[in-house]
């Protein structure tokens, strides 16, 4: 069951468009039969050298971003393969929200089911946030799911859209499978027709 109410954190910027799920977690790590340890392989090909040592210039390996829980990514984040391993890797690493101008459908669904908030902002806010991470990497922003706002360090509140059902599930910790199972009678009736 996934929960999310609010979060205040620094941001890790990754200004690349169309980051697909194979870049989030390469296919060779999909042979696992549990969800454990996925965070270690997040962005593996960008994050590590061939010998397994961290690539110094990759943003996740920079000290000033250590511990940040919000990822700021380019347009169309999470496209490609349907693997839920992508949000497992992101949450396993410690991310609780991703901000972009758009998300691929399957990724967005998968993220919401794992308490990882996909936040859509307009192009201007998107640019402002990237500028912010460049000027003050240690600046924090605040996400409030109930109010559906992101508060910037200058106090400006930016609204973001969120599906009402997903919002309720995350705020109240509604178990989606439990919700589905309440329709047992209707499902049985549907099957009988």
């Amino acid at each position: 069951m996934a929960h999310f109410t609010s979060l205040t954190s620094r941001i890790i910027p990754l200004p690349i468009n169309d980051i697909d799920t194979d870049q989030i977690i390469p296919a060779r790590f999909l042979k696992a039969i549990s969800k454990d340890g996925m965070g270690d392989n997040l962005f593996a090909d960008w994050r590590y050298n061939a010998d397994g040592s961290p690539k110094k210039d990759f943003v996740l390996n920079k000290d000033e971003y250590n511990g940040a829980q919000i990822l700021l990514a380019g347009d169309n984040f999470g496209c490609g393969s349907s693997r839920e391993h992508a949000p497992w890797a992101l949450t396993g690493y410690g991310f609780r929200a991703v901000i972009s101008t758009s998300f691929a459908d399957i990724f967005r669904n998968n993220a919401l089911k794992n308490g990882l908030l996909p936040i859509i902002v307009d192009a201007e806010t998107h640019r402002d946030l990237f500028d912010l991470t460049e000027e003050s990497p240690r600046a924090e922003i605040a996400i409030d799911l109930a109010a559906q706002t992101v508060t910037l360090p200058n106090g400006k509140k930016v609204p973001f859209p969120m599906d009402g059902f997903a919002k309720t599930c995350l705020l109240e910790g509604v178990d989606e499978l439990g919700y589905l199972m309440k329709f047992e009678k209707q499902i049985a009736e549907y099957e009988a027709t």
Partner: protein, 442 residues
Amino acid sequence: MTPPLTLFQKVWNSHVVAQEKDSPAVLYIDLHLVHEVTSPQAFTGLRTRKLKVRRPEKTVATMDHSIPTHDPSLPILDEIAAKQIAQMETNAKEFGISLYGMTSPHRGIVHVIGPELGLTQPGMTIVCGDSHTSTHGAFGALAFGIGTTEVEHVLATQCLLQKQPKTFEVKIEGELQKGVSAKDIILALLAQIGIGGATGHVFEYRGSAIKNLNMEQRMTICNMSIEGGARAGMIAPDDETFQYIAGREFTPKGEAWEKALLRWKQLPTDDGATFDKTITLNAGDLVPMITYGTNPGMGMKITDHVPDPDSIKDESQKLALTKALNYMGLKPNQPMLGQRIDVVFIGSCTNSRISDLRLAASLMKDRKVASSVRALIVPGSQEIKKQAEQEGLDKIFKSAGAEWREAGCSMCIAMNGDQIESGQYAVTHGGGGGSHRKDHRR
């Protein structure tokens, strides 16, 4: 009188079990395809909650992603993959699901065997933990990829919570020129709309050029719908569809077939039905395409030159193209024809069916693969492999110097050991194409 409806709306409407205000629909699923990679955590979830699979007979499993494509009598050397494959066997047995496993003559890529066995039928809702599930839309089914949590939902309830997507008409009129294939049609569409261009929508491919395609070509187009960000892609069923599915193992027979036909003939989009978006392509303008970058939206006419980042105004697009060309080791304005290649991969759920292999064989007959090139031919299913061998295609491939392998996803997802080495260029038939997977260089 009911208002005119699209093919998508008809299939959607007939599968909504319930819908509460401000909530997603509870959508009934007719066929759930399962494979070894995206299902183990879902079965673990069922065990934790002490749940059964609600309708095992509507659930079909196979192994395709992490299995090796070498001689099946050899052991699986990758221990983690072997464990995952064994887990699929355990899960299928414990939950009573039919499995086309390692030794099954019907094993193959999940999106190849569904249609081959006649499991895929018009008007159905079909899901699988794989984005290329859209392939089955070629039969007029609503078919889409889901995550592992949703796999668990479908296993437990045979239903999914879904928000209704919008509709996107792709009209392709006219006649294709010689040498232009289904893959060229979809790559041309992707090059126009971009890889996120259809997010939140379901494509319906229509028009005379689509009508003229056979089922295998239609599957190639629907397969890559997801590469445009679409939830699914559909083509209305017609006589070509009915002819393809008639007599297959799981298709209705006798009176049930006649009844099904009547139902299926009601599915095509009504005259006057409207779509949320429309795009029209002229089939006669289409030419063979190739991708030069790191995603399937970076496609161009095969005779064109690689685009120049300096000619692009949008800063983020310029950066993306610069990065892609850097990764690919290509220069702006260079032609792709004449580019040295190291690996050729023919296979994947996009293009591994018998007609694809026949075409490949016709080009390779009495010729040799260059000594510096590795060529892999990976049939989509063991059935296709058998058929190809009966036709002698395997001999053509082998005598040309290509590797003739067992069915599977192979180099397309590249998680089974079939991989391109760093710095190599590969040309592939695959549908996806993240920069770390295929379509050229690693």
